[in-house]
Subunit: 140 residues, 4 copies
Amino acid sequence: MSYPPVMPLETMNARIQRSPFNRWLGLEVVAATSDSVRTQIVWRDEMIGSPDAGSVAGGVLASIMDSTASYAVAAATGQMAVTLDMRIDFLRAAMPGVLYAEGTVIKAGRSIATVDVALQDSSGKIVSSGRVVFFRSSSQ
Amino acid sequence: MSYPPVMPLETMNARIQRSPFNRWLGLEVVAATSDSVRTQIVWRDEMIGSPDAGSVAGGVLASIMDSTASYAVAAATGQMAVTLDMRIDFLRAAMPGVLYAEGTVIKAGRSIATVDVALQDSSGKIVSSGRVVFFRSSSQ
Amino acid sequence: MSYPPVMPLETMNARIQRSPFNRWLGLEVVAATSDSVRTQIVWRDEMIGSPDAGSVAGGVLASIMDSTASYAVAAATGQMAVTLDMRIDFLRAAMPGVLYAEGTVIKAGRSIATVDVALQDSSGKIVSSGRVVFFRSSSQ
Amino acid sequence: MSYPPVMPLETMNARIQRSPFNRWLGLEVVAATSDSVRTQIVWRDEMIGSPDAGSVAGGVLASIMDSTASYAVAAATGQMAVTLDMRIDFLRAAMPGVLYAEGTVIKAGRSIATVDVALQDSSGKIVSSGRVVFFRSSSQ
């Protein structure tokens, strides 16, 4: 059973507008529950990494996944947290088009929050998946 | 003892110019040996993640680290490789100014290459450090 | 929809009996499909890590997770593979009793297989969860 | 420049004797400074993972690395900490004989400690290397 997010969707997207890099990414939170968020971005040419393959740079995928995971923590706790570490597996090349990410909180402890994130391209295939661990600094 | 890189520095930087996202980052390889590279980028306002802290987005740091690691593989093998996975620890907030990254190949096997990367800001402190694993696709 | 494992359950358990360390763990594969396995072990006192907390050593949990993941690859491909890297999050202390692990293949590529693993204790709570990446050496 | 460990070597080894699993491993701390420890174990047949290759189980290597890293934190802080996550790369098969591990604290923050660990076999080659992150629970 799923509940509404502790931080409302509108608050998340307003906050994204105040982050220069998330604005560059064009990140948007399109859905949220009490333990997950779904985001999307529209692929742009300047996100291409390998000039030969024409695929999105791994760093861009990592950026989307980190931001998506941080808003999953906000959805679960109402507060932003600090990224401690991330581990990402790149499974396939991301093709041009809209990219979708889903972040799911697997544990929101008093000090540490752990989030799984998967990213898919417009073909519906998972192109990267990983985990991001956060320190809930407000709990210090 | 250190030898020259198998891929020359000029070839690396010419290749970076053909990668739209590395060009957006402003990445430059400033030194290379047969098992390591040193890169730098100049911090820009649009790289800021948290609007409150004013620090560089974790995704930007991850991007610099992934690209730096991939050129360390090129330095050791002469060829680009595909990122399989990355794991990054964020140790401190990165302050405005030039960011420096150093990638060191810890093993370049027939199929897999493993690279350690550390990133420091202009204060000289390590702000993030991690490991990137590559698949040497040309060995397939 | 789920299919039978490519390597039969009996073959897996016979193989475990030939591995001294898996025998020490008391590992048993209790269920398998074409992309997952479920294993269990019975907790013993010599598996305790911290003498104060009385909980199972993290290394024992990591061992169960590595072996479980390797049999998930066998279930999906019919062959054993070599562990390239593992990343494990320890979420809670594991209490005495039977421990259950579930490994699910998220991608079995030509050269690389990626497996998610979660481990729960007899209370039903997830105590650790992570990912193990394998090199399918027979594909070389 | 290196200082003596905050927790004395003798205290570490006495504590290891009270941990059933570390005793099973036969772990011994043989050297320590204020930010590192060096440990060793003597290989035994029951540590073998793959019956075909005759090499040490990855889980045994992970166990040595987790314990070694935890004593590196003790060397730096005087206190034991709780493992949050570990990431280990397996670079080569570990051959029979004494195994040596070295753990180096790369950051001991107020709440989080981050430790690099490398493990070598008696041939002197690094067989696995990785990172372990701890939560300093006493700081809660």
